[in-house]
């Protein structure tokens, strides 16, 4: 099943993780030190973020580092701006409908 990326960023801990690793790649232990939750809970959040392709893992020696998939974040903003364009088009069409009706009434 495909993960819902918005589900992923709806969680405050996951948003905090994204903010952390946006600055630098980090190991799960280093990430967990920033939260008052268990290491398991942080691992679960990282797994969800990975499944959504919002973060990527990189093996360095014996450690795994997590970093942000900046392209994926851009992709989300990109299609939100397309949604905005659809509304712009719609409303311009409505402007035309309204002005036509107003002219007919005069």
């Amino acid at each position: 099943m495909r993960r819902d990326v918005f589900q992923a960023i709806a969680d405050p801990t996951r948003r905090a993780i994204i903010a952390l690793i946006a600055l630098q790649a980090m190991t799960p232990n280093a990430i967990a030190e920033n939260f008052n939750t268990t290491r398991q809970a942080v691992s679960k959040h990282l797994r969800i973020l990975t499944e959504c392709e919002l973060v990527k893992q990189e093996q360095q020696g014996r450690e795994i580092y997590y970093s942000l998939e900046i392209e994926k974040m851009k992709e989300i903003d990109n299609w939100l701006s397309q949604y905005r364009k659809i509304w712009e088009t719609r409303f311009k069409q409505l402007d035309n409908v309204l002005s036509t009706i107003k002219k007919q009434k005069k």
Partner: protein, 165 residues
């Protein structure tokens, strides 16, 4: 056409809500009709080159509207709306979902809230759209943008054919 009409569009991803504010250069009654009467809705709701058709619309609390967005190739994407609250010329709320041609909904859908207010002959409409899953937006976009690409592709073919003659 006056270009200084207010238009705000913001998305709060964590709340899974889209907020839209738009001003129209027309009185409240007319703008209210444009959002709540079938004949007017069908004229503007589909972003061109798509068109919109309504199979039925019963604008009252508990009433429904079954409609389709029709692509330039004639492909239909059906949706069903149920009106959950209506305060005439002030506010209405509805639940919107993708559906089949018979109006059987595909859940989850989205909750829409429209508020209308008039000032100095202009009408402001504030829309909030709450999506249980914002992935639905992606589906909406996929449909429209594919449709647009396809129609542009057709145009290119046509132009290529014509220029050969």
């Amino acid at each position: 056409m006056s270009n200084n009409l207010l238009f705000d569009f913001t998305v709060d991803k964590s709340r899974k809500t889209v907020y839209i504010n738009r001003e129209f250069d027309a009185g409240l009654s007319l703008v209210w009709d444009a959002f709540t009467k079938q004949a007017l809705l069908d004229q503007w709701l589909a972003p061109k080159p798509w068109s919109c058709k309504t199979k039925y619309m019963d604008f009252k609390v508990g009433g429904k509207r079954l409609y389709a967005m029709v692509s330039p190739e004639g492909q239909e994407r059906w949706g069903i709306q149920e009106y959950t609250s209506i305060t005439p010329k002030t506010n209405f709320k509805m639940y919107n979902a993708f559906s089949d041609e018979e109006g059987n909904p595909e859940l989850p859908g989205s909750e829409w809230d429209h508020t209308f207010s008039e000032q100095n002959g202009r009408t402001k409409v504030s829309i909030t759209i709450y999506n249980e899953s914002l992935d639905r937006l992606e589906r909406i976009l996929d449909g429209f943008t594919q449709g647009m690409k396809m129609s542009l592709g057709n145009l290119e073919d046509l132009l290529a054919t014509l220029s050969k003659k």
